[in-house]
């Protein structure tokens, strides 16, 4: 899952960015409104965390521009503005959620997860693919009830394939969602990651669920065969 954090406080950038990254999200960071708008329009994000009081371009203007350009990314406003009028204005401008500073990081994480799920029309935080169970809230995957040892990036890859199970996911889509910060990505990075993931799935006693569609991408089987 790919998140865009638009926040001018460099300390919050670091803390939230690190937390989300550790939680298994790919995070892009923008320090002002103009950069944030450019990133939001240039990439596809599952969720955008948006501060309102931003240098160069304020958050509400940015949000309205996004919505005017039919950008459907889920937006969570994270701000110190706490009045009812502020919240109503933010939600009416096109935000999906509103969280007031200071906040509990767990709550921010839960809201981001909920917004990401909403993007794939899911309400249950757990994805079941046969004997494979992916708990997107706890960031844990289990094969036949046994916890799989996955790095955050591997979990992100599995989660991304799982939320789009039954669909072919191209290598470029994987790169965009899982490796946004790696501009000079090696050509076989995705293939290697898929290979490792298959091996870990098999080591948990299941057959590999990930199929390769040559020239198209990868597909996680919808039902266990």
């Amino acid at each position: 899952m790919r998140i865009l954090l638009i926040e001018d406080s460099f300390r919050l950038q670091r803390s939230i960015g690190r937390g989300l990254h550790k939680a298994g999200y790919a995070v892009d960071i923008a320090a002002d409104g103009e950069e944030g708008l450019w990133l939001a329009q240039s990439n596809e994000y599952d969720t955008i965390i948006l501060d309102l009081m931003l240098p160069k371009l304020d958050g509400l203007t940015l949000l309205r521009s996004l919505r005017a350009n039919k950008n459907g990314a889920h937006v969570l406003i994270l701000t110190a503005k706490d009045t009812v009028e502020n919240r109503v204005e933010g939600l009416q401008a096109g935000a999906d959620d509103y969280l007031i500073k200071p906040f509990a990081f767990e709550e921010l994480l839960a809201r981001v997860q909920a917004l990401c799920r909403r993007g794939y029309r899911r309400k249950n935080p757990t994805i079941d693919v046969g004997d494979l169970q992916i708990d997107t809230a706890a960031r844990v995957a289990r094969g036949q009830g046994k916890t799989m040892e996955l790095t955050p990036r591997e979990f992100m890859l599995l989660e991304y394939l799982a939320v789009r199970r039954g669909q072919v996911v191209s290598r470029s889509e994987i790169e965009a969602h899982i490796y946004p910060d790696a501009a000079d990505l090696m050509s076989n990075t995705v293939d290697s990651a898929i290979c490792i993931l298959r091996r870990k799935i098999r080591s948990s006693g299941m057959r590999s669920l990930i199929r390769t569609r040559r020239g198209l991408g990868y597909l996680l089987e919808n039902e266990a065969a």
Binding site: D8, S15, K22, A80, D82, K101
Partner: protein, 486 residues
């Protein structure tokens, strides 16, 4: 309960009743005195007639009882009475109505000034008596010899008359006055409360309006157009008070919101830093601790600024006035800022007379100057100039600090000294929280000085005016020491 309406009603009612009573009594006694005087005048006429009927001659005294005046003393129904005594006290004549053995009381005055008194008549009814002591005229029918001495025998005449008619008139007068008094008292009892209520209606309306005003409706005002002249100053004062209260409440609300807002971001930074650090511990704990320290210092700076502001506004600042050399103070304050100014390629011109000193609190003045100079260094356009000089204006002169600032507009001047105001709506600067100039102005006011700002194209000029007289020369140029650093 202490009520103006009740007190006014009771007081006015009592005063009206007392006035009616006093007036009625005065009228009664005045009319009574007139009637009695009139009655007595008639009695005097009667007794003069009786006196005229008494004559003396050398043969002795005689009373002519044949006059036409006599019938009123002879009638059977309520006759009047009179009795005539000789000087030896023996009765000379009694009116036919007076029985042989009954005498009238013997009191008297002179013919010119008779004596009157109330008396119970022999028939038991009330009457009024008149008594005189006089020398009867000489009998013309029996004149005395010319050589004979004048006749000087004296007699006493007392006449008593029925006064029923007089009493009836007085009774009628008393009744009328009592009836009128009762009617007036009743009218007073009805009219006074109504008049008082009507008179106090604007006051009641004022009270009702005041009851509707609480902390949440301070925007309401009292109507002054239809108010009586006596209440208009009060309503105007109340309206002024409400306006001040409203402004004060709004300021407090804005202040609380500003404080809360200003502290939200550093608290969020600290909390997220701690939560993420605890959830995913990392080796670089030194970095996290340094960040936590910076955040704490930022919050401490806000808290310190707010406390200083509160101390100033609450007049809790302790001042120790002493002669402060302005040039030395400005240079001392600028010294730690010099490196930053050099990094921004700022040229700084401090043009202040050496011998000038202001008698004021050094620490507070230092805080003001520090605020102005550090703001100038932080907000100046790179490679521009900062100037500090003195201008002769008023007793102590003015310290002017100016710098080039492209960001400020004319509209911003009104907000420059507001608490937590920042030109950058994103409030991104961790070094400034918008309290500095508010604090500087509060400090200036504590010192009896005035801090103002003006904009000259892109140059912002802060003026610190000191009304107190200074020691030494007050010059803008000339003998002062000019130091230019760049």
């Amino acid at each position: 309960m202490n009520s103006i309406q009740r007190r006014l009603t009771l007081t006015l009612g009592a005063i009206c009743c007392a006035l009616w009573l006093t007036g009625s009594t005065v009228v009664y006694f005045a009319v009574r005195a007139g009637l009695v005087s009139q009655f007595d005048l008639a009695l005097k006429t009667d007794i003069e007639a009786l006196a005229n009927m008494t004559e003396q001659s050398q043969a002795g005294l005689k009373f002519d009882s044949t006059g036409e005046f006599m019938p009123k003393f002879q009638r059977e129904d309520r006759p009047d009475y009179f009795q005539l005594w000789q000087s030896d006290g023996s009765a000379l004549y009694r009116s036919p109505s007076l029985e042989e053995n009954s005498d009238l009381p013997q009191r008297f005055g002179t013919l010119q000034s008779p004596r009157f008194w109330n008396v119970t008549l022999p028939d038991g009814l009330t009457g009024r008596a008149i008594g005189i002591h006089f020398v009867p005229k000489e009998d013309e029918d029996a004149p005395r010899a010319q050589s004979a001495p004048p006749l000087t025998k004296e007699v006493t005449l007392v006449a008593a008359f029925h006064r029923a008619e007089l009493d009836q008139r007085l009774y009628y007068l008393g009744s009328v006055l009592l009836l009128v008094g009762a009617d007036l008292a009743l009218a007073t009892a009805i009219a006074v409360p109504a008049i008082v209520r009507r008179g106090l209606r604007p006051l009641s309306a004022l009270g009702r309006r005041a009851e509707t005003i609480d902390a949440s409706s301070l925007q309401l005002r009292f109507a002054t157009e239809d108010m009586p002249a006596e209440l208009r100053p009060i309503t105007q004062r109340l309206n002024n008070l409400l306006a001040r209260l409203e402004a004060s409440f709004a300021r407090e609300r804005r202040f609380s919101a500003d404080v809360a807002h200003e502290l939200r971001t550093p608290i969020a930074e600290l909390r997220t830093l701690a939560e993420v650090g605890l959830k995913w511990p990392e080796n670089e704990s030194q970095v996290a601790l340094k960040e936590a320290l910076q955040i704490s210092l930022q919050m401490e700076s806000i808290a310190t600024g707010l406390m200083a502001l509160a101390r100033c506004e609450g007049s809790l600042l302790t001042l120790h006035p002493e002669p402060v050399q302005l040039a030395a103070l400005v240079e001392e304050v600028y010294q730690p800022l010099e490196a930053k100014a050099r990094a921004k390629q700022l040229s700084v011109e401090l043009n202040l007379p050496r011998d000038l000193s202001w008698c004021t609190d050094r620490a507070t003045l230092r805080s003001i100057v520090n605020n102005l100079l550090s703001n100038a260094v932080d907000h100046s356009r790179p490679a521009s100039a900062i100037k500090a000089h003195l201008e002769k204006n008023g007793a102590g002169g003015c310290l002017l600090v100016s710098n080039a600032n492209d960001a400020l507009g004319a509209d911003d001047l009104a907000h420059l000294f507001e608490r937590f105001w920042q030109k950058d709506p994103a409030r991104s600067s961790p070094e400034h929280c918008g309290l500095g100039l508010a604090l500087a102005r509060a400090h200036a006011e504590s010192l009896g000085m005035k801090l103002s700002a003006e904009l000259n194209c892109t140059e912002v000029i802060f003026t610190l005016s000191n009304a107190a007289p200074s020691n030494g020369a007050t010059r803008s140029t000339g003998e002062g020491v000019t130091s230019t650093r760049g």
